[in-house]
Symmetry: C2
């Protein structure tokens, strides 16, 4: 069995309850909340081998393994996390969690607000990347982890890794920032806003309080996800996979599914709208838009990163146009200017933004090599 096929096996989600109020960037206060998380591997006696995995827009705590032997799908990063895999659970204690505002077990808009006995809905506060990091730090406290061997994330997850290194310098040995950006561009925000508008203007959204109406803004979520998928794939990758292939032999001259790419997108949109919470989608895109660690420092990213004491790995993918290599290079340049140690990999891939979830060989090699070094430090 190759290393990449071994699994952490059957896993179980856990819940951590927090009763200390959490003061958010918006000035709102969350009186109490719970975080849903999973762990894989064993925390060593020195408590020095813990790795935090931060998820992206639609991710969650179920990073690796399965809940039952006959589960069709494994965790979302099962190809990267497991025994003998680049994030090696034989050597690391790996923690995955669902972020605050999520819809997979952590407190979010679809949770019951104890103050009202109703789902939070539109009254759930807007959360930011720094808010998440603060809530995650409390989880680390709970688990007895003073310092992460590494905080790792792709896309929005990479932003959390970066924020960790800034907000808790003493608690992060390594930050791995993959397929990410130091802040969104106008185009990035524009795509998010179209997705949000699709949800907000869906008549079934009911201003965010659709739960009580037994409605789901499926149309809006579906469009948001279809659009998202276009930005996750590269033009070339989509061309290679779908091209102009037709479902049936020839043009149908109507508005049913006609090209294979349409079939793929509509399927992805339909599937997503069945399980993802519309309010969570809005919150996650806002967290993306707001992320800007240099904002209160006159746009000086170098000044923001100077606070960090972690060492960094930054990786980007050549065909990623959502967060292009150029955006990662901005981070690298600022890290270098701030006298931080950084390894940068710009990986040739046709898989676009999604490449951070795939196993392009140079990417796997980079992750493995970097994390080997981290493991050696931990056990030194």
């Amino acid at each position: 069995m190759s290393d990449l096929t071994r699994s952490v096996g059957i896993v179980k989600a856990q819940i951590a309850e927090f009763d200390t109020p959490l003061h958010l960037a918006s000035a709102a206060v969350l009186p109490a909340y719970q975080l849903c998380f999973e762990t894989y591997g064993t925390l060593n006696a020195a408590r020095s081998n813990a790795i935090l995995i931060c998820h992206a827009l639609s991710g969650h705590h179920h990073v690796a393994g399965r809940y039952a032997a006959d589960d069709k799908a494994a965790g979302w990063w099962d190809n990267m996390v497991g025994p003998g895999k680049p994030i090696d659970t034989d050597r690391f204690f790996v923690v995955g969690l669902n972020n605050l505002g999520g819809c997979h077990g952590s407190t979010g808009p679809s949770s019951i607000n104890p103050a009202t006995g109703q789902p939070w809905g539109s009254s759930f506060p807007v959360v930011t990347v720094p808010d998440w990091v603060r809530s995650q730090a409390r989880l680390a406290d709970r688990l007895g982890i003073d310092r992460w061997a590494a905080v790792i994330g792709g896309s929005l997850g990479g932003m959390q890794a970066l924020q960790w290194s800034i907000d808790y310098p003493e608690r992060v040995a390594h930050a791995l920032v993959i397929a990410s950006a130091p802040k969104l561009s106008a185009q990035n925000i524009a795509f998010n806003d179209v997705a949000r508008q699709a949800i907000l203007t869906d008549p079934d959204f009911h201003g965010g309080d659709f739960y009580a109406q037994h409605a789901i803004p499926r149309r809006g979520l579906r469009l948001a996800r279809m659009l998202g998928h276009i930005t996750y794939l590269s033009d070339d990758g989509m061309g290679e996979k779908f091209g102009r292939m037709l479902k049936s032999g020839d043009y149908q001259f109507g508005f049913e599914v006609e090209f294979e790419i349409e079939s793929y997108l509509r399927y992805q949109g339909d599937k997503f709208s069945d399980y993802f919470d519309a309010n969570t989608y809005l919150l996650m895109t806002k967290a993306l838009d707001y992320f800007d660690p240099a904002k209160d420092l006159n746009d000086d990213l170098v000044a923001a990163l100077r606070k960090a004491s972690a060492r960094f790995m930054v990786a980007s993918f050549t065909s990623d146009w959502r967060f292009s290599p150029e955006r990662s290079r901005e981070i690298v340049k600022a890290l270098v200017a701030a006298d931080k140690e950084v390894v940068y990999g710009e990986i040739e891939s046709v898989h676009g933004h999604d490449a951070f979830l795939m196993l392009d060989e140079p990417y796997v090699k980079l992750m493995r090599a970097y994390l080997n070094r981290v493991a050696e430090e931990v056990n030194a």
Copy 2:
């Protein structure tokens, strides 16, 4: 007054009625139709100085001039068409028309179907670029134009110019194909499909027969247009113009307009949904998806273009990612391989796909130089 400020002045749209049935690519037959058009300049005695302007997705016949002295806006290509302008109405007789299926005066889904006395709505047939070209050829007959000095178009308009050169080789002296592509990529189709799904799933769409319901699928049209605009601008151009600028000084932590780019997109979407017909939008995007002159020739674009006898100008814009320069180069390479004469300009511009409507200096120079040559031939 500089050449670029002179105008064709006050113009008037005309209607041409056609009673001979038009057989469409879909096998449907349009028993009769009308085309709305405008002309500028004077047809010379030899009838050799006529130029046809083909419009893109949301364009129409009102290419230049104003309908009244106090009209706020001029025709959509007024900066390029007029006395002394690159498409010089002192030398050319310029024809603009609204395509079949349109919503600006030519027969389309919002027109009354004489057979029923009701708007065509969902029963209006799907039209293709070759269908348009055939309907335009009849307009040329009506105007007594055997041969166009040039057929010119940007984007979807460029596809019509290319199709003209293939379908009526003897009737086109020059074809100017700007910011266009030989066929859509999977990504192009994907964006169109998201836009269509936004319209098709809008509860106010009523399967295309919303006119009778006194409804307009505004939500869907608005989303389609917002999305369209993202693809018309370049990432860099959007960054320069909007960046991360906020409407009010700081983050609002809500879902109202927050960034300037959101304000711009929502405004564009709102405006568009007030005047554009949803069924026309669907038809135009389908015409884009279907365009593929090499489809029935084993994908051999060279074979398709071999039929042409026109000379060509192809132009692309460096920051256009909707139809990138690479797509124009595909056309150029096929033209060269088919032994056709072609001038190609790859124009440095930050304006993205929209650049074909703007006045980047190298673009204006290229158009002027090329059309000067055409004018000299006409008057030789």
